[in-house]
């Protein structure tokens, strides 16, 4: 089953998302709290999919997405957004985001979206 890297500065968000992913049979191989840490962990762990929150300190999700995609064009990065913010979503698409997951999380919709990304 697929390996995931969860990136979010919120411990609550990471915990909820991890619970949903593991409940669906996926493996969470690592967690990061900002975009820079996300890139470092990606290099180390080479996950199948990254879930990336947008609003984070140090380096935000867009920054983390750019770094990972530049170094690993084949990577799959799903952006996590607190409701639809058009400008951020557009920026993410322009930088290669594979999909979007809204917060608050809906477990069924989330798993469906991730399976679509893995199948793509």
């Amino acid at each position: 089953m697929a390996n995931f890297l969860i990136v979010d500065d919120s411990r609550t968000s990471r915990k909820i998302l991890k619970g949903i992913l593991e409940g669906a049979g996926f493996t969470v191989v690592g967690e990061a709290t900002n975009g820079q840490e996300a890139y470092d962990k990606y290099v180390e762990l080479q996950p199948d999919v990254v879930t990336m929150d947008i609003t984070m300190p140090v380096l935000d999700g867009i920054g983390g997405l750019k770094k990972i995609k530049e170094a690993f064009p084949e990577s799959k990065v799903v952006m996590v957004t607190a409701a639809g913010q058009k400008n951020k979503m557009l920026e993410a698409v322009q930088n290669g985001a594979d999909e979007f997951i809204p917060k608050p999380f809906d477990a069924e919709q989330l798993v469906e979206t991730l399976k679509k990304v893995m199948g793509a």
Partner: protein, 299 residues
């Protein structure tokens, strides 16, 4: 929802006890069916359709009925008939008071007059609370004349989201204008863009822990970084919905990373700031909101 406000008044006046108030609330909660469930049971929607609309409600600040009509799953007439099936909350509460023997009908009418007088409610305010519709109720608690429309919208949105995600028996208190606020702890987030906003949540320990535990899906016993993180995440989702609505009007707002204050902090401004009490399980959560004024935070 009427019972939440009038019942609390009756409890404060010792007409009913705290236990009786809670019992009445539980009874009302259990008799009030969700619109989606009613629609499915009455074969107006499929379960899949109801679930889809419930999911959309999570990310759109809109009513179930409005989304269902837009998707073509229900007509306006069907929504009206479903709302009627849900029941008149005012009448249900009055009936419960009488059925339990707490008050006679005459007693209810007398207490209602007292409630209107003591809470300084107009006839329209009372009708709004009787309607059970939070969109009508929220303005009753924003009487402060200086509150700008943007903040009124934000307060109403927050009330809807607390109701939806934390406590369906939410009770609002009156919004007050302040220049400074001291809190033993706070979860907060700023938004910047076309205008700048500071939002913070603090309050009684029980309220903060309940909000954190319900939204964070784990039991928190202490107000610390972890429980404040859960409250911050609620603020983040709330702000996301607010920013999303603003972006529909081409107003761009960027959410900054939330900040948690685990020790006493003070926020003061040179402009208007507002504090709004939200009562969850009768414990006070306070939201502080500051718009476009320079604010300063000291720990």
């Amino acid at each position: 929802m009427f019972g939440i406000y009038f019942g609390k008044y009756l409890q404060d006046k010792e007409v009913i006890t705290a236990e009786q108030y809670q019992e009445l609330l539980e009874e009302i909660k259990s008799t009030r069916l969700r619109l989606g469930l009613l629609a499915v049971v009455n074969e107006m929607m499929t379960e899949a359709q109801a679930e889809e609309v419930n999911q959309l409600q999570q990310v759109q600040d809109r009513r179930f009925g409005d989304i269902a009509v837009d998707k073509g799953y229900l007509t306006e007439e069907q929504v009206s008939s479903l709302l009627k099936m849900q029941g008149d909350q005012y009448l249900l509460f009055v009936q419960a008071l009488i059925d339990h023997g707490y008050l006679t009908l005459e007693g209810v009418q007398k207490e209602l007059k007292g409630y209107k007088r003591d809470e300084r409610l107009s006839a329209l305010d009372l009708d709004a609370i009787k309607s059970g519709d939070l969109d009508n109720i929220a303005p009753v608690f924003m009487k402060e004349s200086s509150i700008p429309p943007l903040i009124k919208d934000y307060i109403a949105l927050t009330a809807r989201n607390i109701l939806r995600f934390i406590d369906p028996a939410l009770r609002m208190g009156q919004t007050k204008r302040i220049n400074s606020y001291v809190a033993p702890y706070m979860a907060s987030q700023e938004m910047e863009g076309e205008f700048n906003v500071f939002v913070g949540l603090s309050g009684e320990k029980e309220a903060v822990l309940e909000a954190a535990s319900i939204f964070g899906r784990e039991e928190f016993r202490e107000v610390d970084e972890d429980s404040l993180d859960a409250v911050s995440e609620f603020i983040n989702c709330n702000n996301g919905l607010y920013a999303s609505k603003q972006s529909e009007e081409d107003i761009q707002l960027e959410l900054l990373p939330p900040i948690m204050y685990t020790r006493e902090m003070k926020i003061q401004t040179d402009g208007p700031m507002y504090v709004i009490p939200f009562y969850i399980s009768d414990h006070k959560l306070e939201m502080v909101i500051c718009l476009e004024a320079r604010w300063q935070i000291n720990e």
